[in-house]
Point group: C2
């Protein structure tokens, strides 16, 4: 970071738009996966596309890495700076620019908080459907960059299904408009490629998103089971009947204990496993589906089923679910978090394998996951103060991922790749596939300055292996 | 086409896999938009990915253009060879390789006919949701290459929403696997970019698609209106209430006349406009929604509404709708077909403008369109035997497209770009946007051999303006 570059950036964003002091930059050294650390040399907080463009051009000229960041709630070692450089925080670009309910879209700046968009339209009967558990703090720009999922992705799809278009400042400082406010996208679907590209193609400066009509009715139920494998089998059976719940979430016994210790959400602590099942749609449909789901769960061995009586009870159940990842700190000092996918029919198998792998390493594995999507989130509990536990947790984590791949799954469900899964892409893609992705990246970012060391296996980088830090106790504010 | 290349290709696909004679190649000179003509020097009909790869490598070595083709039902000047070269017809690659109903996907070769996939799974309660009107003859490979739409795209989404992954042979003969059978796609969404790329990135040799559970109940209604503008306003009102019909199609008076003359589908010939409204889902939901749609249509001025009594009546209504484009030959010698999009709320405005443009040029414009999507298909009727009519039709067509763009729409809804809309992309994208698309193309096809002169404005090509043929009477087998 030369004095010349610093001066140039200060001229663009003003002194208020810079984070210079090391102690203030410390919060930017990692995302919520604190295992990967790398502090930017400077954080800039632009207020407009023009400022982002000017910042990128200065950095590109100086050959300095550029790392975009939303709210920093990712879980992949993504919005952090392993090579230092300039971080572009989009938090001050937080205006909702346009809402068109007749045509069901909104245009927002990237720093708009996910839930804030829903809050701004819900009294008119609409919402922004993607709901990562972090939605009360995560930004729509970050959601788009990581193609975030969430419990309701089962019915409504992940963020890619809700982004109509993007404005992107590329690694060379060009401002591109990809897609638009109508769903059809003539030419190549570059908006689709930008979603989930994790800041490696450019900085998202505007997002055009779909708004969804609020369902007439919602029913939320908690069913208990004698094991997580049995609960998983019920998940397959529900979907196989042609019912697509709004959400279909599973939690095992360690998670239930942690949630109830932390959130008191009303889950039965004696249960070995629960499914949180939400149905929404026209009232008539929801009633019929609720009856069918009840029958299927009973047939598949559910022990109890309880319907939330009112919105307050429903909200509390969801609070428990959404804060589960942070609550796990109640039952363990540390954990390693996995995010992987198996074909839904393989859920019972993989749950049994996960338990076996944990047992083999002498570690508790807690499971809270988007069961309907086959998207598992095993949390391998360990204590960094016990010599060898961390290493065993990492081994178990690796074995779990391999088990998912062997069952026909993939290396990341909704969190993305970042540093954490970069090497893992080689498990899915051959060298030709990866080289094409890398070549596509060069189109947008010819000098490799945009969020370096992310997404691609390091063989694809011109730099060394990622630097990693030590473990750290589980923070409460953390969401899967 | 050198003798050496011909020999090499014969060795790969066998004499039976070649179409050499000019009279046999004639059917390959255009897609269903017969305005654009260009005969390939040779057609090869490979049977496997390995054969496609070998063919592409031979052509690439010889610097000969390569044009992939499915069933040739496109409407964009797409699967035809303006620069000659080798056409790769995928019709003999027509095996359904895998069906996994538990995990709801199928893996098919690109020549599998759209409806054949549904036929193979419907008795087990599933279907392949994308239903372009050509679905009884068009191929899934072609559907994927053009990101085809169809009446039911309103609820179920176009083909991009149903493609999980693709195998693609690039312009250099590399075999890439993009995406996979689970919905999540780590890394860049290259499957998404390949869908809709119209053969300019490579030859699709395998498609992994979602299968959808058949709805419990279906209701189909025909509502009549005093004008197409009033019918269009009812469309907006239905969607604004949060109802997403499975399909919501509009036809105006000239189309109704043509359909009844050709298909006798039971549409009321005295009506000035009809909406064909289909609702599907759980029976309880469908009943409630049918009542709501009836009420909204009445409030918005519908004159009559009729529910199809049985599957036979429903099938006949759909036969009329799906064969409408061919039936227009009953009322005109020729027509120019437009495919454009406006934000749904602008439908009444654009319908009025289309009629005004037609009147100004002294031409009848017939309208059959996917109203729910805002995807219009004006057909500008003319007679090529009347001097000046064709030129006036082209002018009217151009004015209609401009009107759609000015209303916030886009240049193609579901047919794609091909030669027909290549120049039009410049109405939506600036030079930077187009250069990025072109650079992405070079990643897959560095020598520009894959389906040349398609998709990109000719300024992006190193070749002259497209060659165009004369008009031709409307063929009956033609679908929008």
């Amino acid at each position: 970071m030369t004095a010349r570059l610093l001066t140039a950036l200060r001229e663009i964003v003003g002194a208020n738009g810079l984070v210079v002091a090391a102690d203030q930059r410390l919060v930017y050294e990692c995302d919520m996966l604190v295992y990967y650390k790398g502090m930017p040399d400077l954080v800039v907080l632009p207020r407009s596309t023009a400022e982002v463009q000017a910042v990128v051009r200065c950095c590109a000229e100086a050959g300095v890495p550029i790392v975009p960041r939303g709210s920093g709630t990712g879980l992949i070692g993504g919005a952090m700076a392993p090579k230092g450089g300039v971080m572009i925080g989009v938090n001050r670009m937080d205006r909702i620019l346009e809402v068109d309910l007749r045509n069901r879209y909104a245009v927002v700046e990237p720093g708009v908080i996910n839930l804030a968009l829903t809050r701004s339209v819900e009294n008119r009967g609409y919402f922004f459907a993607p709901d990562p558990s972090s939605q009360m703090v995560s930004s729509i720009g970050g959601n788009a960059a990581t193609n975030a999922g969430g419990p309701h992705a089962l019915k409504y799809g992940n963020v890619a299904h809700h982004v109509l278009g993007l404005e992107l400042v590329t690694g060379t400082g060009d401002v591109l408009t990809l897609g638009g406010v109508v769903a059809e996208r003539p030419g190549y679907d570059l908006a689709g490629i930008a979603v989930g590209s994790e800041g490696t193609l450019g900085v998202v400066t505007k997002v055009m998103v779909k708004l969804t009509h609020t369902a007439e009715a919602v029913r939320t139920a908690v069913a208990t089971f004698a094991s997580i494998e049995i609960a998983s089998a019920a998940v397959s059976a529900i979907i196989a009947e042609g019912i697509v719940p709004a959400a279909l979430e599973a939690m095992d016994e360690p998670i239930i204990r942690a949630v109830e210790a932390g959130v008191h959400a009303g889950y039965p602590t004696e249960a070995k496993a629960v499914l949180l099942i939400e149905l929404d749609g026209p009232a008539a449909e929801v009633e019929v589906q609720a009856a069918a789901v009840g029958r299927i769960c009973r047939e598949k061995g559910s022990l109890t089923m309880r319907l939330a009586r009112d919105d307050a009870e429903r909200a509390l159940l969801w609070k428990g679910r959404k804060e589960a990842a942070g609550a796990v700190g109640r039952i363990t000092h540390n954990y390693v978090l996995q995010d992987a996918v198996v074909p839904r029919s393989k859920l019972p198998t993989v749950m049994a394998e996960i338990q076996a792998i944990g047992a083999r390493h002498g570690l508790v594995v807690a499971n809270v996951f988007h069961a309907g999507d086959g998207n598992v989130h095993p949390m391998i509990c360990y204590d960094e103060r016990v010599p060898g536990e961390f290493e065993r947790a990492l081994e178990a984590n690796e074995e779990i991922l391999h088990a998912c791949i062997e069952l026909g799954g993939t290396v990341t469900g909704e969190h993305g790749v970042g540093m954490d899964k970069a090497e893992k892409l080689a498990m899915l893609f051959n060298q030709d596939d990866l080289e094409v992705m890398h070549a596509v990246r060069r189109v947008f970012d010819p000098h490799g300055l945009m969020n370096p060391q992310k997404v691609f296996p390091s063989g694809q980088h011109a730099c060394a292996a990622p630097s990693v830090g030590a473990g750290r106790p589980v923070p409460e504010g953390m969401w899967v």
